[in-house]
């Protein structure tokens, strides 16, 4: 795997992401500065990490989505390259037009940091092949604006095309308002683009890859990506 992590001013989970990718793949990801206009040659995975790019001033992810490097990312995604956006990365991908919809303020208007359960909706994608369909995983969230919204038509298309990959749920996999931590439409925690090569998700699988954090459920996502790219190569 030859991954590249985008670094915008104000991003703060790039080190967490680098550690998770390194553990999963054994190779060190490249750090790509926002002002760069090209991705490193041979990049096969672009990661937009979490944080508060440009302070999340104006709108979450809005300023970063217009940074020079994003043109290169759009081209990379257009050629079918894999792009993973987590938390602020998800917000940036939505603002950049690579994913539909928008992340609004949490329904309860507060920043929330705690472990949530996610139901993996299907396992036949590069971003979920490390799990079984219907499997419930536990990963932390840490966000103030993770309430996914889109117009009715978009939501129907997402559901109809099976593009919702992760959903907030109970420990036993039940999806309900009680477990929808931020008020997201249809309890959506993560979606993919139409071609299935761009994933955006609010929770942080990269923070649950080592036993020291009390849970390693996040590993599957990265292991699946490594496996997918190894097969593709």
């Amino acid at each position: 795997m030859k991954s590249a992590i985008l670094v915008f001013p104000g991003i703060n989970r790039e080190r967490d992401m680098a550690r998770a990718l390194q553990l999963a793949s054994g190779s060190e990801p490249a750090m790509v500065w926002h002002a760069d206009t090209e991705l490193p040659k041979g990049t096969d995975l672009v990661v937009v990490p979490g944080g508060f790019s440009y302070g999340d001033y104006l709108r979450c992810g809005a300023i970063a989505a217009r940074a020079p490097v994003m043109d290169a990312v759009r081209k990379f995604a257009g050629d079918g390259g894999l792009v993973l956006g987590v938390c602020n990365g998800f917000q940036i991908l939505c603002e950049s037009g690579l994913l539909p919809g928008v992340l609004m303020r949490n329904a309860r208007l507060k920043f929330i940091c705690h472990d949530v359960h996610l139901r993996v909706e299907r396992s036949d994608t590069p971003f979920t092949r490390g799990y079984n369909a219907g499997q419930v995983i536990r990963v932390p969230v840490a966000h103030g604006e993770g309430n996914y919204e889109a117009d009715e038509e978009t939501l129907q298309r997402l559901e109809g095309d099976g593009r919702v990959l992760y959903r907030y749920c109970s420990a036993s996999g039940e999806v309900s308002d009680a477990h929808n931590i931020n008020g997201a439409a249809a309890s959506i925690a993560g979606i993919v683009s139409e071609r299935g090569n761009v994933l955006g998700m609010m929770p942080h699988p990269e923070n649950h890859v080592e036993a020291i954090m009390g849970c390693t459920d996040g590993r599957g996502l990265f292991a699946g990506l490594v496996e997918h790219l190894a097969k593709a190569a």
Partner: protein, 736 residues
């Protein structure tokens, strides 16, 4: 000097917080009337906040040295060596008054300030903690203040990208008009790359880095040293606004230029901004400083020299660069989009000269600005000793189980989840123990070392007996670090008191410091940094004396740590330490009996050390499966917390005949822990502890889903958990 100098009237002097005799001292020192800019500089340097004029002579009694202390008090933060060329940089600081006026911004700038103190020394911040004291829950302002402060602490730390891993939240009517916001930051640096404030070399360029200067917090340090009255809400100076994004850029830029070996000296611009930082850089390096204010990046037009020297705009730094590296440093600053300007030079004159618009606005002796600050040995009276309360004289108004049900869901002892879930406590991926335990545990880089971090103080003890209360604050930090398996190494303190001009308040400060010093010596934990916040007083009523103690301990192997949750059924529950049933100043006495009375529990430092060493040994050997320190609420509250956390109940023996039940279960005797061990280890542990003279008693066994005391009604753990978790969200939602 200026063509139309502002006349220095007695009123002007007083409005700068300078007393007539202090002004006289200025006249004597410089031999003429100061300019308005100079008066501002003196007021900044000589106020309580910067000069420690009331506390300095008593702070001298604190132990500050140990073989592992690399930098003690006096720099931006303290530094300790943890081996392998790794150093831990940490400090705690208050932002009390600004947080009362504008809770969100007050808290953000408090967190921002302490983070800057840490990364200024070359460390990457790896954890934040805080200690928050609010007024009574029923006070009309409390809810808004809690909401604003918590959002502010989170808002800054979350965006900056440092995990907030622990802290304290308390409510008491004595904080109604003066809340306390104490923020602590902890960073990791290379032990051989610590950066200090002292400039060196004559003719070196002094560089200004960070956000532009505005009229923020004009005279904030002066404000932080003034008592409030009812009009304070109206007399607001310009509020400082925190910009965590700018600070994150500043962090990355600073670490990058430090790694590129460009920096000779660096100083954060905190309270009294440019004045304090420039003077300290020069004075510490035995150099003069020439400042050219025309070069200072400003946010607003028409700022005067006076305003620029006293501005408290946030996210700014002053540094002396190696001249040959100036271009390289500038490129790094530009890359991060930060303002960068050469605003002065070091001189051999030992004068602090400030120029603006071609005029000299100030010309003062730089060493004397700090060294000749007033020093007061203020009159102090010892707090009267309160009588020891005998448990048998306290009639329990309700039964033991009912008292537990009430206490576990009380404002004092309920879960703080509502607070810490607003803080990102997992960023970094190193938070081995998250908030809610005795101390947080944070892995250092890829391990195996870990840090145990805690903030502690029991203000009601300090009020009742400052000396014992001071000891207790240090002892509790020691116990909390020990309970997770850490070896306590050093302490930062944040001393919050009322008006030191009142002898009884000064007596509290002196008493607490004596207790703190004694405990630090006995427990081998020197004080390496700290902050004093006085005048926390409204209409002549001071806060409870609140010397917050931030403790840092080391785990050689973070996997050898303990948590408080019961781990399995059928394990022996041991009470370690001596129990006499001390109810004076206990939460039980206050919240169940409605009496804030008596002497607080005495602290036996030898017992603390002996018991702590034994408990740490049991954790490291793997004998202990769960460990919890006993503090507020005593034995039964601690057991309930362990049961709730592990979702495993306990079957408990009745207490000994010699102690009345409510004193046994709720007394707050010190130096105690609960430890669980597997049955097959029990005999060995009891024998071993007896041999080393550590009191140890099996008080029950983990079992089932209830807490059941022999002869009492069993109580369901789920019900306890519900009560424990409900108070805070209900209160904040307006339901409690």
């Amino acid at each position: 000097m200026s063509s139309k100098p502002t006349p220095i009237t007695p009123e002007l002097v007083a409005s700068h917080g300078l007393k007539p005799d202090e002004y006289q001292r200025i006249l004597t020192l410089i031999g003429r009337e100061p300019s308005i800019t100079e008066l501002g500089i003196f007021s900044a340097m000589w106020n309580e906040h910067c000069s420690y004029k009331s506390s300095r002579i008593h702070l001298k009694g604190l132990p500050t040295k140990a073989p592992w202390v690399l930098v003690g008090p006096g720099e931006n933060a303290g530094v300790i060596d943890i081996g392998d060329n790794q150093a831990i940089v940490f400090k705690m600081e208050s932002h009390n008054h600004p947080s009362f006026i504008e809770p969100y911004q007050g808290a953000t700038t408090g967190v921002g300030g302490i983070l800057r103190d840490v990364f200024t020394m070359g460390a990457r911040p790896i954890a934040c903690l805080n200690a928050l004291s609010f007024g009574a829950p029923e006070h009309p302002k409390t809810r808004r203040l809690v909401s604003g402060v918590v959002a502010g602490v989170g808002g800054y730390g979350n965006s900056f990208g440092v995990p907030t891993v622990g802290g304290q939240v308390r409510f008491h009517t004595r904080y109604d008009g003066n809340i306390l916001v104490n923020a602590m930051a902890v960073g990791l640096a290379d032990a051989d790359k610590i950066f200090l404030a002292a400039a060196s070399g004559v003719g070196m360029p002094i560089v200004y880095l960070g956000s532009k200067t505005g009229r923020d917090g004009m005279g904030g340090a002066t404000m932080a040293s003034a008592e409030f009255d009812n009009d304070s809400d109206e007399k607001r100076p310009t509020v400082q606004v925190g910009d965590p994004f700018a600070e994150k850029l500043l962090l990355e830029a600073c670490l990058e230029i430090m790694a590129a070996d460009c920096v000779i000296a660096i100083q954060d611009m905190g309270a009294a901004g440019l004045t304090c930082s420039a003077v300290e850089m020069g004075a510490k390096g035995d150099l003069g400083v020439d400042l050219d204010l025309d070069a200072v990046p400003t946010r607003e037009p028409g700022m005067t020299a006076y305003e620029m020297m006293l501005s408290e705009s946030q996210e700014r730094m002053l540094m002396v660069l190696k001249p040959e590296k100036e271009k390289q440093a500038e490129a790094i600053f530009k890359k991060w989009g930060l303002d960068f300007a050469i605003v002065g030079t070091t001189t051999p004159t030992l004068r602090f000269v400030v120029k603006h618009g071609g005029e000299v606005k100030a010309d003062l002796p730089i060493k004397e600005l700090g060294d000749e600050a007033p020093l007061y040995d203020r009159p102090h009276v010892e707090s009267p000793k309160l009588p020891v309360i005998h448990a048998r004289d306290i009639k329990p108004p309700i039964g033991v189980v009912e008292a537990l049900e009430k206490l576990i869901g009380s404002p004092e002892l309920c879960s703080r989840r509502w607070v810490w879930e607003q803080y990102d406590h997992v960023i970094g991926g190193n938070t081995v123990q998250r908030p809610g335990g005795d101390a947080a545990v944070v892995r250092i880089e890829d391990g195996p070392k870990g840090l145990a971090l805690t903030v502690d103080v029991t203000p009601r003890y300090c009020e009742a007996d400052p000396y014992e209360g001071g000891k207790q604050a240090v002892a509790e930090a020691y116990r909390n670090i020990t309970a997770v398996g850490g070896k306590p190494l050093a302490i930062t303190d944040n001393l919050n008191f009322g008006n030191p001009e009142r002898p009884e308040i000064m007596g509290q400060l002196v008493g607490c410091l004596k207790g703190i010093a004694e405990a630090c010596i006995a427990l081998d934990s020197p004080i390496v940094s700290g902050n004093v916040s006085l005048y926390n007083e409204t209409n002549g009523r001071g806060i409870l004396p609140t010397p917050s103690i931030g403790g840092v301990g080391l785990l050689d192997d973070f996997t050898k740590s303990a948590t408080l949750a019961f781990k399995a059924e059928g394990e022996a529950i041991l009470l370690i330490g001596e129990t006499r049933g001390w109810l004076g100043q206990s939460v039980y006495l206050r919240d169940i009996c409605g009496r804030e009375e008596g002497a607080p529990p005495p602290v036996n430092l030898e017992a603390e050390k002996r018991n702590g060493t034994v408990v740490r040994g049991m954790i490291h050997s793997g004998t202990a499966t769960a460990v919890h320190d006993l503090s507020d609420g005593g034995l039964l509250v601690a057991l309930a917390e362990m049961a709730i956390a592990g979702r495993i109940g306990a079957s408990l023996d009745a207490g000994p005949e010699a102690i009345v039940p409510h004193a046994w279960w709720f007394g707050e005797d010190q130096a105690r822990y609960i430890v669980t061990v597997p049955q097959d280890e029990l005999l060995g542990v009891l024998t071993k502890l007896k041999a080393v003279g550590v009191p140890c008693l099996q008080i029950g066994t983990t079992a089932g889903h209830t807490l059941s005391i022999a002869g009492e009604r069993a109580v369901d753990i789920k019900a306890l958990e519900h009560a424990h978790e409900s108070w805070f969200p209900n209160y904040m939602g307006g339901k409690a």
